[in-house]
Subunit: 385 residues, 2 copies
Amino acid sequence: MRQVAILGIGQTKIDEHWDLSLREIGGNAAFAAMQDAGMDKIDALFIGNMLSPIVSGQNQLGTFFSDWVGLWGQEAVKVEAACASGAAALRAGLMAVASGEIDSALVVGAEKMTDKAGHDVTAALATAADADYEVEQGISFVGINALVMRRYMYEFGWKHADFAPFSINAHANAMHNPFARLHQKINVEQFEKSSMVATPINLLDASPIGDGAAAVILVPAERVASLKGKPKITVAGSASATDSIAVHSRKDPLFLSAAYESARRAYEMAGVQPGDIDVFELHDAFSIMAALSLEACGFAERGQGVRLGLDNEISPNGRVPVCTRGGLKARGHPVGATGMYQVVEVVQQLRGGCGETQVDGARVGMAQNIGGSGATILTHILKAE
Amino acid sequence: MRQVAILGIGQTKIDEHWDLSLREIGGNAAFAAMQDAGMDKIDALFIGNMLSPIVSGQNQLGTFFSDWVGLWGQEAVKVEAACASGAAALRAGLMAVASGEIDSALVVGAEKMTDKAGHDVTAALATAADADYEVEQGISFVGINALVMRRYMYEFGWKHADFAPFSINAHANAMHNPFARLHQKINVEQFEKSSMVATPINLLDASPIGDGAAAVILVPAERVASLKGKPKITVAGSASATDSIAVHSRKDPLFLSAAYESARRAYEMAGVQPGDIDVFELHDAFSIMAALSLEACGFAERGQGVRLGLDNEISPNGRVPVCTRGGLKARGHPVGATGMYQVVEVVQQLRGGCGETQVDGARVGMAQNIGGSGATILTHILKAE
């Protein structure tokens, strides 16, 4: 396998884009990445998307987008792993370039969710869970996560307010990200008083949906080495692991074994340890997932993930900066696009372009994208050289 | 890139499987392939599927199946390219093994279609076309193909009966394939008198849908070389190419440029020419597509694809044997699984296990899988060594 670098990045603001189609949203992110990389000829397109068959009546998104962005005739394919579709597309593109089969890849994560009514989107999101054994019982996706959070609070003795720092940090950081959906600071009191969604998950524990797309251009690393003025940012680690799709089938529903395993493999591939990670874009679809992710990846002991927030270690100046651009919580969570937003944001950090939420001297960044309630988890580690 | 071999194959009968869920159908094909390969530990699973979000309310199929077939914790992902999803999954698995990132891959194509009413399936299949510019006008997927067929007949002077040999050959061959959906010989008179679907496409021009799954196990070729009694069947050529998703946007709607391009690249990679292909499993979703595929891949001149059938060259004893196990027309077309059925059938031919429809001395086989009306086309060439 040859080393692969990220040469260009692009993203759109996450919002309710009533004036833009899925085609335009994904295309805009792709064009931005192509412009950033200075490339308009690319060998192949990989797109991560979860909901377009249901929400937009559109399949075959690879070709749908290669056609739209002018990569006529080129290879194109869609990759889907529920909310981890973005990172799954990145990994597919990565292996294609690493194998030598292609010399450049445009990887896009795109999702348009707000064309449907709320209850339709809730039903669509439930396709990430087990249709036969979970959804059939009438539970929603947030309901499954609520059961996990409730058990975590019972098992480890935390109260709801202890999760507040995750959301407060995310909202504070999103204030400085023009692409974020929410630009609104919150405090503990607001966090505690927000509307209940599925006990104990309330509105400020949960990430907002949205329409959005993010994209990168992958090329062999040696190609970037010869370019002047372009930082060499390589994909140093990449791994994907799975767990049972139904939470009730797991030995321990409070441990993200797929996060542990994919992080372990990615650390090994990149030759780093948790302490080497300067910035960690984690998958805070719900505040409980932030805690579980930190624990599984070696940043906190079992049951102690929330302590990192309470000890003020997760801010851009902390020991383990997370959600530095707003995270899923405040940047927004256009499901199939999220994994690519995370990667684009890590690149922004490694390029030193994050302004008020820049992590000083960031050289190694990690992005972790979760599909379902921990069923499919991909971890990528990027390095600036 | 290292060379990759197919060590095991498996498939289920295509049918209306009222008693089996998507999970069981895909699992049965996977288990059969694992048993054939003598492997129960596999690094990663790649699944091709088009309709499960719509028909079964299930996304995240990679993990859904890795969980079910006992590959707990392993990497898993779904790949989608409409009716070319099967071959697209094969190509993703191929690149992962070829890159050295993984040492074995289970590739499955699975589809359950018959749980929905006919008009729902028609709507679901239309997601392969352009939702904004084609489907929005009210046209169905078969309607798009009907326009292409009508134009072809007008342009090149063929009458409807001239397409009969494609369907007659497919039905005759399926008689000897226990996994085929239809076991019923047909003649020209029946072909001409069958019910009209969308003029000029009638029921015997069109492939039947169905529930089914097919699977292969990919490993590095050097591993097979050391196994006694296992034929070494390698993936010698693999390529994917695209065209505009909407047929009306193409320079020439009667030429499958993505078939031409993917075949060209696959021939080059495998070091072969059309004349070297002993068996060609083509994508006869509609009889017109068989003709267009033969032309684009170099087996016939423009507008002369139907002549191969009229001249009796497409039977297992002919110059260009196609659909030797029944093709989409009679084996059946469970859309996302079809590409994997084609590959499994080519392996059966190269192993010499096709009985009455065996192509004598078959050493080089080709499978071509088409997504949409020619929008995404993958060509794979297998060699027996």
